[in-house]
């Protein structure tokens, strides 16, 4: 039996997919704009995946780029040195990220590290990985390049639209996973944990297990997408573990509204597009202006609408609901 809720989500998702699929056509296959669009799209993947740990489970995880980096670099190295196609490498990368998540999450949740301390711990994870990757035994100080080959085997293309569609597919899959979680027992349990851990535990929820499940799911998606991120970036190095990028993903998630898939998606697309636009127009005169804008937006969201962009959707939904009842 297909529920009405599912049908509604399916319709919205179908419209969204078609709309996003048309973007390269609307942009007239201008390669630069498609690159920007693909970048926005990949950040939407990150933010929607982050919503699982940050939004549903309520853990302020500031290490998204750690999982992106590990997964991406593993897949890239496998391709470079062993000729293994990223179609396999991305899954291995996802596995590597999940292993890292388990290694971080198990002791962290075991000893009840949460809130600010969890945020600090995860933020430092990015810095630690950055330093480790910098060691000569690992990536050293050089930039690493993907093999100078193109084709579906490598997921490297001369045109950006193919990559755009691959990322779109990953995004749709991520949204579907998110909605599945949201409407499942796991989703209810994660939200209960976010609201009150002690009360959740007294209702029979194995808090540690569910937090770890959320962390590993999110890390897996991040790790899987990592290779595509590296393809977009063109190179990889210890710089891939970039703290500001990591924070940006969490900030986008917060501005979007914790626990809202639509909010996370909109926030990522909107903010990333604005960021890229500002960078291309006045980036040379006022570099880093977008960070200031993020800061201001965070304050605005904090003061007026802690529910973030999601509040706008709820408001619209209510309006439509009332109109129907009234009409």
């Amino acid at each position: 039996m297909v529920s009405a809720e599912f049908k509604k989500h399916f319709t919205i998702l179908a419209i969204l997919t078609i709309a996003l699929a048309l973007v390269p056509f609307i942009l007239g296959f201008n390669q630069y704009y498609i690159l920007l669009a693909a970048t926005s799209l990949i950040f939407a993947v990150f933010v929607v995946a982050w919503n699982i740990i940050g939004g549903y489970a309520g853990q302020l995880d500031l290490a998204p780029i750690a999982y992106v980096g590990i997964g991406g670099i593993v897949a890239a190295q496998l391709l470079k040195y062993y000729g293994i196609t990223p179609w396999i490498g991305m899954f291995i990368g996802a596995g590597a990220s999940m292993l890292l998540a388990a290694a971080i999450g198990y002791p962290t949740f075991r000893f009840g590290i949460k809130e600010v301390w969890y945020a600090l711990l995860t933020a430092s994870l990015v810095v630690i990985l950055n330093n480790i990757a910098h060691l000569p035994q690992f990536l050293g100080s050089l930039d690493h390049y993907l093999p100078a080959k193109t084709g579906w085997y490598y997921l490297i293309f001369t045109d950006y639209q193919n990559l755009y569609y691959v990322i779109l597919a990953v995004l749709i899959a991520t949204i579907v996973i998110n909605l599945k979680i949201s409407n499942s027992k796991t989703g209810y349990y994660l939200r209960a944990i976010r609201e009150d851990e002690l009360a959740a535990e007294a209702l029979g929820i194995d808090v540690r297990k569910y937090k770890l499940k959320a962390l590993m799911t999110y890390a897996g998606i991040m790790g899987f997408t990592g290779y595509l991120y590296i393809v977009l970036q063109g190179t990889y190095s210890y710089h891939t573990f970039d703290s500001p990028t990591s924070l940006t993903i969490a900030i986008m998630g917060i501005i979007g509204g914790l626990g809202s898939v639509a909010g996370a998606f909109t926030s990522a697309i909107f903010l990333k597009t604005v960021e890229e636009y500002l960078r291309s127009t006045i980036g040379a005169t006022i570099p880093g202006l977008y960070l200031l804008i993020y800061g201001i937006l965070l304050i605005v969201v904090g003061i007026f609408k802690p529910e973030g962009i999601a509040a706008l959707f709820n408001w619209a939904k209510k309006k439509i609901g009332f109109d129907r009842r009234g009409g």
Binding site: S3, N183, S184, K185, Y188, Y189, R191, A192, R194, E195, D196, L198, A199, A200, E201, A202, L203, G204, I205, D206, V207, G259
Partner: protein, 243 residues
């Protein structure tokens, strides 16, 4: 005793140099409502936390349906069939009332649609105002919170329910309503209860037996009218009679 659903045996819990619960033993009989009273700081909530696994007692044992549950984590104790409510309500503020109760039901099923329908029935059973079941946790009144807390707890299908100062902060007519709901849960759902309470009128009218704690120790146990006339209890509450 075969009809004891919960057996507390010589439980001791210390915090640094303070003995919060000192060598407490008592039984809870299947199907009864047991009152647990005592002045502030008597150790009632600490004892609750020892039973529900939030604290592990330093000494002593807790048996539930004949099984040693001492030191099990809270979620495992909930799974065994002990549920609780909180002195200070712990609402899921950004979830609706219905969703919060659904979380409780999901302990015994994984089917969300089924769980939601069951949650609706439970809310109806305890008489929660129907128009408010889709309200967010942050938008409802204290009495509503107490009822959601209660609904959430009985949604886990417990055999034993621990109520920590459930009447605190309520108006007299709200208390009477709550007492009625508790009696209905006790008789129709066959859930045994321990009621920790400060409000004498409430607990005296509700419980069949009462255990009195004072400074971590059990000072009396018996039927409400016996307790009300027990000199030790009067002394604990009011101090020594001037001679």
């Amino acid at each position: 005793m075969s009809d004891a659903i919960l057996q507390v045996r010589n439980v001791v819990k210390r915090f640094g140099g303070i003995i919060a619960v000192n060598n407490i033993s008592f039984d809870v009989r299947e199907g009864e409502i047991l009152g647990l009273i005592g002045p502030n700081g008597a150790g009632k909530t600490t004892l609750f936390n020892c039973i529900t696994g939030i604290y592990t007692p330093e000494e002593g044992k807790v048996y539930f349906m004949g099984e040693d549950i001492t030191g099990l984590p809270p979620h495992k104790i909930a799974l065994k069939g002990i549920a609780r409510t909180w002195q200070k309500t712990r609402p899921f503020k950004k979830m609706t009332v219905l969703e919060a109760v659904t979380v409780g039901v999901l302990l015994r099923t994984s089917n969300v649609d089924k769980a939601m329908r069951e949650a609706e029935e439970i809310l109806k059973f305890i008489g929660f105002p129907e128009e408010k079941i889709n309200a967010l946790g942050k938008d409802i009144t204290l009495m509503d919170h107490k009822m959601v807390d209660l609904a959430r707890a009985i949604a886990t299908k417990p055999k034993l329910l621990l109520l920590d100062e459930v009447a605190a902060g309520l108006r007299p007519h709200e208390m009477d309503r709550l007492a009625g709901i508790l009696r209905k849960i006790n008789s129709e759902k066959r859930i045994t209860m321990i009621v920790v309470e400060h409000v004498m009128r409430f607990v005296m009218g509700l419980s069949e037996r009462i255990v009195v704690m004072h400074e971590g120790q059990k000072i009396a146990e018996g039927r409400p009218e016996e307790i009300a006339n027990n000199p030790k209890v009067i002394e604990a509450y009011l101090g020594t009679k001037p001679v």
